[in-house]
């Protein structure tokens, strides 16, 4: 699962590892929760009026599953108890619910956590190495 920052950094070419990750996105099996979709769209729209273009991009992806349903409350509460802020707990809950193996993020609030998680949190640079992209 890719966090919002991977898409935004990769699209705006803010960070090279994120650019490379998006360049290789088609070789990943990716899960995108609806909340991340909403965040990326909102950010692209407010900055560049290109929110809808993100959907056109996703339509060109081969191995993308969009998780439209909201994750259960119990999983959000579990991740809050693990120290996540509510809004990050919702993303972590979606990752667990969808059975994601990795959450790829540049957000230190994610990267600093590992205890009790059913997925590994890595940044784009590590993902490129581990997933041999």
């Amino acid at each position: 699962m890719l966090d919002t920052n991977e898409f935004i950094f990769g699209l705006t070419e803010t960070k090279q590892s994120c650019v490379d990750l998006l360049d290789n996105f088609d070789s990943l099996t990716a899960i995108i929760p609806a909340m991340i979709l909403r965040e990326v769209r909102t950010n692209l729209e407010s900055r560049y009026q290109l929110g809808k273009e993100f959907f056109r991009l996703l339509a060109a992806g081969k191995n993308i599953t969009i998780l439209w349903a909201d994750p259960p409350l119990e999983l959000i509460e579990k991740h809050i108890a693990l120290g996540f802020a509510e809004e990050d707990a919702a993303i972590a809950a979606a990752a667990e619910w969808a059975g994601a193996e990795f959450v790829i993020s540049e957000n230190r609030h994610f990267l600093q956590k590992s205890r009790g998680l059913t997925f590994q949190t890595i940044n784009a640079e590590t993902a490129l190495k581990w997933l041999r992209l």
Partner: protein
């Protein structure tokens, strides 16, 4: 016009806001507002679906080019730093969670 009666679940805050707009006379009633929203969403979705699909790399390159053009047009010659952008993304996440997603759950204060 033939109509169909359906039951929809909407977040409370959206329902309350829709009641306010209806009271102000912007919509005849809740059904009128829902119909207007559906028309708009369906039109936009049809526009998106009508586009010939490209491959990922073509579409990615195109989107990056459009972003670069907008950045130049907006006068953002100096790119936001990674830290600035991360902070802005966190703020957006917080807002979207609080406004759209949190109301769907019964979380403690």
């Amino acid at each position: 016009m033939l109509t169909k009666t359906v039951t929809v679940k909407v977040p409370e805050y959206l329902y309350e806001e829709s009641q306010r707009l209806t009271t102000l006379g912007l919509f005849r009633d809740f059904s009128d507002l829902i119909t207007a929203g559906l028309r708009r969403e369906i039109r936009e979705a049809q526009e998106l679906l009508a586009i010939e699909p490209d491959d990922w790399q073509t579409r990615l390159t195109s989107l990056r080019t459009q972003i670069r053009k907008k950045q130049t047009k907006n006068g953002k010659k100096k790119k936001e730093t990674e830290a600035d952008l991360l902070a802005a993304l966190r703020a957006t996440r917080k807002q979207i969670w609080a406004k759209e997603y949190r109301p769907r759950y019964r979380l403690g204060a």
